[in-house]
Symmetry: C3
Subunit: 346 residues, 3 copies
Amino acid sequence: MAKAKKYRLAQIVERFGGKIEGNAQTPVSQVGTLESAGAQHISFLAHSKYRSQLASTGAGAVIIASADRGLTRLPRIVCDDPYLYFAKVSQLFNPPPKSRPGVHRSAVVERGTRVPASASIGAGAYIGRGVKLGKDVTIGPGCHLGDGVELGAASRLDAHVTIYAGCRLGQRALVHAGAVIGADGFGLALEEGHWSKIPQIGGVLIGDDVEIGANTCIDRGALDDTVVEDGVKLDNLIQVGHNVHIGAHTAIAGCTGIAGSTRIGRHCMIGGAASIVGHLDIADRVVILAAAVVTKSIRKAGTYSGHPAEDSRNWAQHMASLRHVHSLRDRLRGVEQKLTTRENKA
Amino acid sequence: MAKAKKYRLAQIVERFGGKIEGNAQTPVSQVGTLESAGAQHISFLAHSKYRSQLASTGAGAVIIASADRGLTRLPRIVCDDPYLYFAKVSQLFNPPPKSRPGVHRSAVVERGTRVPASASIGAGAYIGRGVKLGKDVTIGPGCHLGDGVELGAASRLDAHVTIYAGCRLGQRALVHAGAVIGADGFGLALEEGHWSKIPQIGGVLIGDDVEIGANTCIDRGALDDTVVEDGVKLDNLIQVGHNVHIGAHTAIAGCTGIAGSTRIGRHCMIGGAASIVGHLDIADRVVILAAAVVTKSIRKAGTYSGHPAEDSRNWAQHMASLRHVHSLRDRLRGVEQKLTTRENKA
Amino acid sequence: MAKAKKYRLAQIVERFGGKIEGNAQTPVSQVGTLESAGAQHISFLAHSKYRSQLASTGAGAVIIASADRGLTRLPRIVCDDPYLYFAKVSQLFNPPPKSRPGVHRSAVVERGTRVPASASIGAGAYIGRGVKLGKDVTIGPGCHLGDGVELGAASRLDAHVTIYAGCRLGQRALVHAGAVIGADGFGLALEEGHWSKIPQIGGVLIGDDVEIGANTCIDRGALDDTVVEDGVKLDNLIQVGHNVHIGAHTAIAGCTGIAGSTRIGRHCMIGGAASIVGHLDIADRVVILAAAVVTKSIRKAGTYSGHPAEDSRNWAQHMASLRHVHSLRDRLRGVEQKLTTRENKA
């Protein structure tokens, strides 16, 4: 995308550590995959299963783990965690786009909202009353910020993001297009077969360094706030119900749904399309695999999967055992026949 | 959110019934959870499992069931259904926000559409030709209403709602941000390995008192209309396929998908992330639990779950029986060995 | 919707083939279902299970397979594939809406972008710099096209579509409201318990004749592009992760999630709410049923379902066998008791 600056391997190692093997003056200006990299790219080997791609890569240099250093003669940076190292090099080459400060002439900013000089407000954006914007925020075209919204410094909202009245996001938020923060939670009481709406008067409180994917929804609380702590990363098309609490540095992949009032711990990793029912408690450092259906609280760290979710080794074993039921039936029938035959003989 | 008016317990009971125990003049101005309520709040105990929270609550008063009335000395309203009672009290304290009538200068209203004086049209909204708007409608910033759309009185669309041409919504509709009503259904015919599009010429017909969640999609019909009857409540990120028919007062939780031409009865409750395949018939008063995969019609009221969905007690039993297969194998092996040993002896 | 022109059966058969039985001069002006059609409609019988509807239809004519031709005395077109034939007739009666060329006064087009005279740019749309638009494109109200986007001739974007910078779509694209193309993929590396963002510098490359449903998301690639080949049809609320590759003429139903770097073959059909984990390879002509959870590569054509997905007949058998585990336990207990009884006798 943006044209990247050129760096020599020596300059990279100076910033991020690691050890160079081969020509330390090799210049690179962008990251690339082993498959498609050219001489100006630095690539990386994250798993030795990709070693055949390494053999044929056109990359000018590679980032590689110590154990794999002998697999190539290319100029290379040897380090402990090539994937993380690559992430940092890519961040160096691809800094977030700078927005030009200013309020687009077609944007609407209501009274009582002060826009910092450093802020960028895109075409057709709508900013309600009493909104508090930090320095260097970027609000994309067509975004909607309701009255009293707070958005911390250096946050960026892409196009068509909706933030309902009173919701608060911390610093360095990154929200992708179409995300909706603070719509009413799904709160209803039955009255003689009709649904009576429970006003959703809580808000949404989002910490620092949170990323929110495209078309993801985070509902406002029924009474107290829905809370997303610092460093949480949410992928696309995720539903976060009212009064959910997501602990710091938890990452959740796309299409996952979390029903109301569930508490998710810190440092969890939740696979795509998982379903977590309401009012549960998920411990810290829990890993939930893709498409798991979590119907009970999870009290200790570990890896869970299945429908209903359980320890993932058990689930795998149970599903494998399904394949044996048929033969068990046949064998049992055999045993029964033998016994019957003997009885008849006796 | 909005500052709430103050009411005495006596005034509340006058409106909604129930019986006061303790000081009937206790003033309250907002609802709150047992955990976070202060003296100005009235809280509620919906399940006796929260009784420990009741013991330590800072609430000024509580709504409580007759059976639990002895659990607190706080001023209290004793009633049959504390959750419903709380809903009504919350509605009293938190009426829906009033929108200021008028058309924002940046909104676009095409010719042939009359905007009632009581209507509020937000910034950047687009209203096509021949649109019929009832009294007191609120159309949020950035909404899109195609030609010939009908929207009943007192309906409210939040930001960025899209309603395609010709779709009709009844009175008191509440549609949250990013919802899309009337996009083409997924209609395709195969022609020598290529897909040929079937024009989607039906519409969407939505009754009164329907709530539609953020980023939820309701497709227009292929030929006849997709129908959502009165009082239906849809949560966020739900997909309603073309020609689906959802019966009155059915509630559907988030991330659920309903494939084309399926008929869902009245007064159903469908849990989050359920999948219902196409061309099925679901009876009235069916409860479908979270993440169920419904592959067959459901002919009678009851509770269903699982993948594929069945009576939820059966599903639970079947999944539990999975855990026994392993030990059955071991026991069967033991039986077989015994028999073999005897045969060898014989 | 649009008022359709009148055609006689003879004129239709002249275009699309088939054989008329009954009055070839019968005029029809629209398609309709057997249930709701009137004399001006032509309907169709796709499955003989709808024969009772055929008996009572008010349609003026029907499209019918050779085997079913005797089921009605109505004027009829007899053909090999009534569903496909109906699709063509419907396309004839319902051509895509023509947009009036021109740029709405409230749209924003940045410098360096040339809008063809034949293009229609809706109210409040935003077109970035250096965007390349083909002839006869329609860009709906409130759409967002980032810098450098390419959109092929005769493509149509409905309201509120977001296309991020640098993404490319081919000719005759049809993108429904709220779709997001080119948001960042979910790329993160762990650094001492915190997530470090991997810049997503790839793009999205979409072929010709691709349809993309409402609120569907297609993420940009991490390094190389995410690719959607010609003729692919995507329903609503689908998540396509970064660097996914979808082969030509594959159709995917709503609520499906495809995790990063998975390759899907050509001519696949993927049911609604399927989950496909990352880094898999799915062969050509694979059919994946609704709600399947695909956790391994699928190397050959066939029909797959279940959680985890396997050959759909096996899955059905396995789930059916679940029902026998309970009775197997009882029978095994019986056998064990018999053996014990004998041992005691012996």
